[in-house]
């Protein structure tokens, strides 16, 4: 088991290298560069630049160099802990993403905990009481959850919270704490704001997860080992929780790996609607403005999280399922 984890960790730098190449070239793929979109922006506001200024700008950011050189400059900087400067914000990227990253991970963790602790019990109840009133109730609830766009839920909840309770639920901090340094009061303020976006994001995931859990468990409930456990005289709940639930959860555990990056990109719209200082809106803006180094760093962080997430889910799965442990 330990050997397996070490093996996986040793693969990490190689994977990161591959992903960095991909990230870099995907960012480079759209025609033009930051300067082109900067010029377009200037033109839209009525001003313009002459050719010399444009060349100077390109040279300043190293955009006149061949791609290979640009890539190694970028990667080399990151290895030294220097993520470069955002072309758009004219600020160090590290400074830009540090807090946003933390808040995104926090939001992700909260969403994850809420959706799993809702979805697994719902899935279990729906499957064990198949075709009962409560199963149909959850089915309707789940379809609504899947079918309603999250930003819509966000808007409705915002409106409800504002018109009935008079509270504003946007952002992750009250105005007085937005730029305040970290303190206990700020953490408490964060927790007061975090639950709503986490709940909104979780509802979508919960619905899907509960459907999958229900289907998996229904498959397992008819397996002979369930009947055997009954024949041993186990009580129904105890045997359901010990045997089929364990086997039904395994396939879900393997999806944890995609969870973090999916949540990052999936939450862009909700984060925009709710004005959350997370990383999603930042990525969106950097992509539209061709702020390539910032976008590259964020994409690379996504990849890194995906790798870590996959590692975590693989380790969890190996821990839960001896058959996988043996193969490893």
């Amino acid at each position: 088991m330990t050997q397996y984890i070490i093996k996986r960790l040793l693969l990490l730098p190689l994977l990161l290298f591959i992903f960095s190449v991909f990230a870099f070239f995907i960012i480079q793929a759209p025609p033009g560069d930051f300067v082109t979109s900067y010029i377009a922006e200037l033109a839209a506001s009525g001003s313009s630049m002459d050719q010399a200024q444009i060349e100077a700008l390109r040279e300043q950011y190293g955009l006149d160099q061949p791609l290979i050189v640009q890539y190694f400059r970028w990667v080399g900087g990151m290895l030294r802990g220097d993520f470069g400067v955002s072309l758009d914000w004219k600020r160090p990227i590290m400074e830009l993403i540090k807090e946003r990253l933390l808040l995104t991970v926090l939001l992700g963790a909260a969403t994850f905990i809420i959706s799993w602790s809702l979805a697994i019990p719902i899935g279990i109840i729906s499957a064990t009481k198949q075709y009962s009133f409560i199963d149909y109730f959850f089915t309707v609830f789940n379809y609504l959850g899947v079918a309603t766009p999250t930003f819509m839920t966000a808007l409705v909840l915002m409106w409800l919270a504002y018109s009935y309770f008079g509270i504003s639920v946007t952002g992750l901090f009250s105005p007085e704490y937005v730029d305040a340094p970290w303190s206990l009061a700020r953490v408490i303020d964060l927790l007061k704001h975090l639950w709503l976006p986490a709940l909104i994001l979780a509802l979508d995931g919960t619905a899907r997860l509960a459907r999958v859990m229900r289907a998996n468990l229904l498959d397992e409930l008819n397996k002979p080992y369930v009947e055997m456990a009954r024949a041993k005289g186990m009580s129904e709940w105890r045997l359901v929780l010990k045997y089929p639930v364990h086997l039904a959860i395994n396939p879900l555990v393997s999806t944890i790996g995609w969870y973090l990056p999916m949540l990052f990109s999936g939450s862009v719209i909700v984060a925009t609607v709710l004005n959350l200082p997370t990383i999603g809106p930042l990525l969106l803006r950097s992509l539209t403005n061709q702020d390539m180094f910032l976008a590259g760093v964020i994409v690379l962080i996504y990849c890194f999280l995906a790798i870590i997430g996959t590692l975590i889910s693989d380790v969890l799965l190996a821990w839960l399922d001896p058959r996988i442990r043996m193969e490893a």
Partner: protein, 342 residues
């Protein structure tokens, strides 16, 4: 001697959207202490549903709708009471205290009947801890003893093995060890040798017979294999389409069959003495679809001794024709029969 288990007019039906499947439709048989009763019949004759009814393991949309399953139950104080299992709540405490403790099951597929993510030891000890008042250490000791008893090499290490790490034969042995964990008085074996090869099959059958004598258990052995029945059973119940056609001691069933169905079954066993080139006799026709049961005796459309106006008009009752065998057939019964109800 009084029977350990008495099944009387058991009816278990499945209520599907398309209609009612009468999987078991009036079954009677007795099991005496220490006796091996073989239930034979083709696929779909209701033998598995019968024993699942006895253990109250019938799942929706199935239901026991009529009949009695009388069992000599030992309650916690050790008193013996006759209890009707058919009346018990399938999830209730009483049936759960009987399952695994007094009536144990050996399932058809040992591979699929162990959870693949729990060790064998965990699952055997669980059966022990559920019914016996022992601590974990004692449960482990009993589990090792049981594994040793069924001929499992290195029983201590096997406790930590998973079912998929064992060969088919060893897996079935582990299953038998689990079923015997609490010394049941009635063991129900549902085609326990179907999934394993013939050599291992013989070993498992011998093991079951040895254990049966050691523990003085009764066994209900379900199979479609007449050869296995001849090897293991004392008493045979022949089923067809949810009803008992004939029952009697094993010698009588094999050497003096009375019911046309039993006769036809035995004739279709390939014989080494048959002249070369002779066609193997088969039973005409095939098992009817569950939704279109024949009226009257369920076997009449395939029966050589079919009597028009009699066999298709009413269902013959299972009646003793001598002091050993019982048959449900109008060849032996001219008295008024139960009239087809629905």
């Amino acid at each position: 001697m009084t029977p350990l288990l008495s099944v009387r007019n058991l009816k278990t039906h499945f209520f599907l959207d398309e209609g009612v499947v009468k999987a078991v439709d009036g079954v009677d048989f007795d099991v005496f202490p220490g006796q091996v009763v073989g239930i034979v019949g083709e696929s779909g004759c209701g033998k598995s549903v019968t024993i699942k009814s006895v253990m109250q393991l019938i799942q929706k949309p199935g239901r026991i709708i009529d009949g009695q399953i009388l069992f000599r139950h030992h309650d916690e104080a050790g008193r013996e009471t006759i209890i009707d299992l058919a009346q018990l709540d399938p999830h209730g405490k009483t049936i759960r205290s009987i399952r695994g403790a007094e009536i144990a099951l050996i399932p058809q597929e040992p591979m699929a009947s162990f959870s693949p993510v729990h060790t064998i030891g965990d699952q055997i000890m669980e059966a022990i801890l559920l019914h016996l008042d022992v601590d974990e250490e004692e449960a482990r000791r009993i589990a090792v003893e049981r594994l040793h008893e069924v001929g499992m090499p290195n029983p201590e290490q096997r406790l930590n093995a998973y079912s998929w790490e064992l060969s088919g034969g060893l897996r079935q042995r582990a299953m038998i060890a689990m079923s015997l964990a609490c010394n049941p008085r009635l063991l129900i074996a549902d085609e326990p040798t179907t999934a394993i090869d013939v050599t291992t099959q013989a070993q498992v059958l011998n093991l079951l017979l040895t254990l049966q004598k050691q523990h003085n258990m009764a066994i209900i052995f379900i199979t479609h294999d007449l050869g296995v029945i001849a090897q293991i059973a004392d008493f045979v119940v022949v089923m067809y389409l949810g009803r008992v056609m004939e029952s009697g001691p094993v010698e009588d069933i094999f050497f003096n069959p009375q019911h046309p169905y039993t006769k036809a079954l035995l004739e279709s066993i390939p014989s080494i003495y048959a002249p070369a080139g002779k066609r193997l006799p088969t039973i005409e026709g095939s098992i009817p679809h569950p939704f279109s049961r024949p009226s009257g005796c369920p076997f009449h459309p395939r029966c050589k001794a079919f009597m028009p106006g009699v066999c298709n008009a009413a269902i013959p009752k299972l009646k003793a024709i001598n002091d050993r065998q019982s048959v449900s057939c109008f060849l032996y019964d001219h008295a008024p029969a139960i009239v087809e109800g629905s």
